[in-house]
């Protein structure tokens, strides 16, 4: 019988994969996709809690997260476009102007 734990494990694994992508990939677009993976892992965990607690609040929170994620992707991609115009690259290891 599949229980809450299983969903949570899937969520953790998904989150870990996303984090791995953020930490290791150098293409900023793929870093963004990895971020989406992490957000979705959170969504999955929330939906699972919602189901097993018999309460809708978790799903409401997922709804908000989806909205915020959409806004974040839009703004982030626009920033990326502006950045690319300026530096001709979206590679993370080449974007180190913050270093002194």
């Amino acid at each position: 019988m599949i229980g809450l734990n299983h969903y949570l494990v899937i969520s953790v694994l998904l989150f870990s994969l996303g984090l791995l992508g953020v930490l290791l990939r150098r293409n900023l677009l793929i870093v963004y996709m990895s971020l989406e993976l992490m957000l979705n892992a959170a969504n999955l965990a929330l939906a699972a809690f919602s189901k097993y607690n018999q309460q809708l609040d978790g799903q409401i929170l997922v709804f908000f997260i989806v909205t915020v994620a959409a806004a974040e992707v839009a703004v982030g991609l626009a920033l990326m476009v502006a950045l690319f115009r300026l530096r001709q690259t979206v590679r993370v290891d080449e974007l180190n102007a913050m270093k002194l």
Partner: protein, 615 residues
Amino acid sequence: MLCPTRRELSARLSIGAVVAAFWLSFLLWFAADLKQHGATETAFQWFSVDNLVVAFGLRLDRLSELMLLVVTGVAGAIHIYSYSYMAEDRDVPRYFASLSLFTFAMLGIVLANNFVLMFVFWELVGLSSYLLIGFWFERPAAADAGKKAFLANRIGDTGFLLGIILLWSATGSVHFGTIQQLLHEQPKLLGEMSTIIGLLIFCGAVGKSAQFPLHVWLPDAMEGPTPVSALIHAATMVAAGIFMLCRVFFVFLAEPSMPLMLAGLSGISALDVIAAIGMITALLAALMAVQQNDIKRILAYSTLSQLGLMVLAVGCRGPLPAMFHLTTHAFFKALLFLGAGAVIHAMHHEQDIWRMGGLGRKMPVTAAVFLAATLALCGLPPFSGFYSKDAILACVLKQNMVLFLAAVATSVLTAFYMFRLVFVAFAGKPRTSEAGHAHEAPALMLYPMLFLVVPSVLAGFWSVEPYLEPLFSAHAATAVKPWYEQLLAPFDEPLAAFAGLGAAGFGIFAAATLYLGAREDSLPSRWGAFARVLRNRFYIDEIYRVCITLGLDAVAAILDFFDRWILAGVIVRGLHGTVELTGRILRLFQTGNLHTYGFMFGLGVIITLWLALMR
């Protein structure tokens, strides 16, 4: 002050105010019937902190009455004299404003009924003296003299303030009457600090009255306008010190004792030190005066010497003779300065007596009043100075033979240098063309001088002692003698009287032998090195300069070391180094690389989770 552009009005305002004050004091002297301890009036409580209660209160007794009379009388004469003397100066309003402030401050000292209020006015006198000495501030010498006077006074005032604080902490009051009462009831109240307190309070007088270690400011103060010198040297500033000593004389009557640390000195009371300082000042200043050529400087050193005598009298437990001499001295010394001012005015600001000569014929009135004042200063009867100086001599004689001899020697020197001045400047033939074309002073300058002649000559006929005596001792007041008895009173104590007379006579004789008709000073060739030492005022200024320079250099070196190694080295560089090291370490984490930041962030999350879940 009110109208900086209208010189006439400002001058008249000041003169009117001072003359009115003089008349009021005059009326008060005769009209007020003051009981033993006088009248104390508290206008309002100024401030109070815990048990420090300071009132803005006035005290009117015989002592302040006498001083009121002296201060307003002399100041009034000087105000009127200044009207003419300063007529050509472009800063007349500033001059009169400062002069009036000076007079006001002095009256404040005279009337204050507690230490704090007195100290406030005391400082105000210091300030206005600075303003007046440095009145011609365009001249560097005047500005420097002002600063010197101010700083020398500051040293003394610091001691005075410390003394006040100690006295307050011992008695819990700053009110003269209260402290006097307390000390009268329990003479050991001040405990082991009593001598120290006395000496610290005396410090204030040392500064203001220019006693020995701090006397250096007074001769330099001659850079101010001559009427200012008259005011400072006669009635106000230097008198403040003596007056203060008399006002708080009860402090010195407390049981003398020293803290354990200085137990070896326990035999010495503050009064002994005061007497010694007075004697040193009197003798040194008289010696210095012998070889000065500047007419005002001679008078300045003579003032120092006379102040030394007054302090000596106080130190010999005789505030009465001191006050008596202060009163007579105020009149004749003001007269001498005003006379010198008239001479300087006539000589177009020439002050060297060896460039004068024969002025007696050109300026007969000035010469006459100057001679009268000189005779008073030398102590010849029936001029006032004789009586007051004799009182001091008699008082000192009762205490100590050495001090008495020193005082007599001072008298000899006084007569010598004063008649040297008179013979060189007024007798003989003119030495320069200015002296030949000198003319008598204008009437507005002569009247105040003539006014001052009266008390200079007659003040001795009425001794102030019977009036003041109830303030200083428990005895019933001695009856006021009629003037004809007072005239001969000094001869009740024949040794002192004849010693004083002999000293004056000998001094005048010596001066006449050496200087009557002389073309130049013959002392340098006769005494050589000693005369040079005298002329250079025992090199005290130079010694001070060297000592202060060395001292300051040493302090500066210590401070420099402290600043360079402790502050800049350990503290500043240490802080800076620590911060920089921390920064360098932290900088390693700031790679500018997203992955590193992400890694750090993940690490932080793990540590936080571990802390939150595993503990």
